[in-house]
Amino acid sequence: MKRSLQQIALLVAKDLRIEARGKQTVGLVIVLGVLIIVVLGMGLGTGGPGAPMSGFKSTAILWVAYLFGGVLCFEKTMAVERQDDALAGLLVAPLDRGALYIAKLLSNLTLMFVLALVVTPVAILLFRFDLSTHPWGFVIVMALGMTGFAAIGTLFAAAVSSTRLQGGLLALLVFPLSLPVVHASTQMMRKMFEEGEALSGGGLATLLAFDLMFLALSWFVFELVLEP
């Protein structure tokens, strides 16, 4: 157990170090996210000094940016392993496949966290979202939603990276499977910001169930998916 944790830390540190060298993924993903927000803002943003926009609407706009940005993160962190067959080097090592999955997931979540850290304030600024009633509810719902999305994304990135990746295949796989999480988080935001309810336990349970189910499942099938 302790050894696995050390190996996970080592793998994540390695991924982040490679990312820090090139800074390709984070830069790319942030710029893409901001562009998406701007495009959406052109049509949907409130014109003139009016009332701020409901926090509920933020989920739709942010999810578009997170979904596209996230898929790029998943692709990039896995491409690093496929280049020069580095993955085989990991697989012959005394390393549990589950640990490898967790490490990749953590790397992806870190990158997505950086993405969210830049894109969310930009969206709040451009759309004048009013999140003041439930700021923490917003953070918790988004964090849980992204975890579920990343759990699936990490799994499928490993599954399709060895096929000569046809453009958009990963997005096509991951988007529909993530729809429940997008939908559930949107509904929770609606309840919080439109109906003034507190963060609902049932909604949180749905999101948590989604996260746990896909984490567990991915952990199990990750080994199968990696096999050449």
Binding site: R21, A88, V92, P94, E227
Partner: protein
Amino acid sequence: MTVSLSTPAATAIPGAAAAVRAEKLTKAIDDKTILKDINLDISAGRYVALLGANGAGKTTLLKILATLVAPSGGVLKLFGQTVRRDSIHIRSRLGLIGHGAMLYRDLSARENLVFFGRLYGVADAPGRAAELLKFVDLAPRANDPVKTFSRGMMQRVSIARALMHNPDLLLADEPFSGLDAPSCRMLEEMLSRLHGQGKTVVLANHEISQSLRLAEQAVVLRKGRVVLDEPASSLDPAAVLAEVSAR
């Protein structure tokens, strides 16, 4: 070079337990048979060449030996232990050199080696990395990113990576492909030296005369079966070629 590469305790003594013992190993993907009834006995400390035409099953067999792929049937024992899915202990005694360098291009040679060393739980990974970089003659370039290296240099780092945890069994899958003549000779020497230090070497190669010159034992695969398994010195390249390419 005077660097000692083996801690005597970890090295298998020639003549002791077999390093590799495969019984009726088969591999089928869907309904296609790739390997059929492979029986293989490699005693510790041997240098074995695995020969065969493209598609004969060399790479698959090597992947099974490296525990990357599970066989569909049969028993595989490495160092006397049966290989299962979670053979973490067995894995720590294997070293693999493949077609790909199995390195991270953006990291330096030293960073790569230290990373893999730590993954194996090597006690003094930086020290061991420095030692091996000297062995593969790349100490001056240790801190350059691997992507600036030539193919030959990359392959040398790759060998160092495979040796970080001082494995007892070294598996090499076509390591000479794409190398120029000097790099080839250097790699040949390295493998022979490692063999001299008591390591078991399994080399998948399509160069027949080179393999017979280097190895002690030659195993020929054809259409997923072992068709020849004999001491290399007793074999004639032309006869082996006939075996490889027979239909």
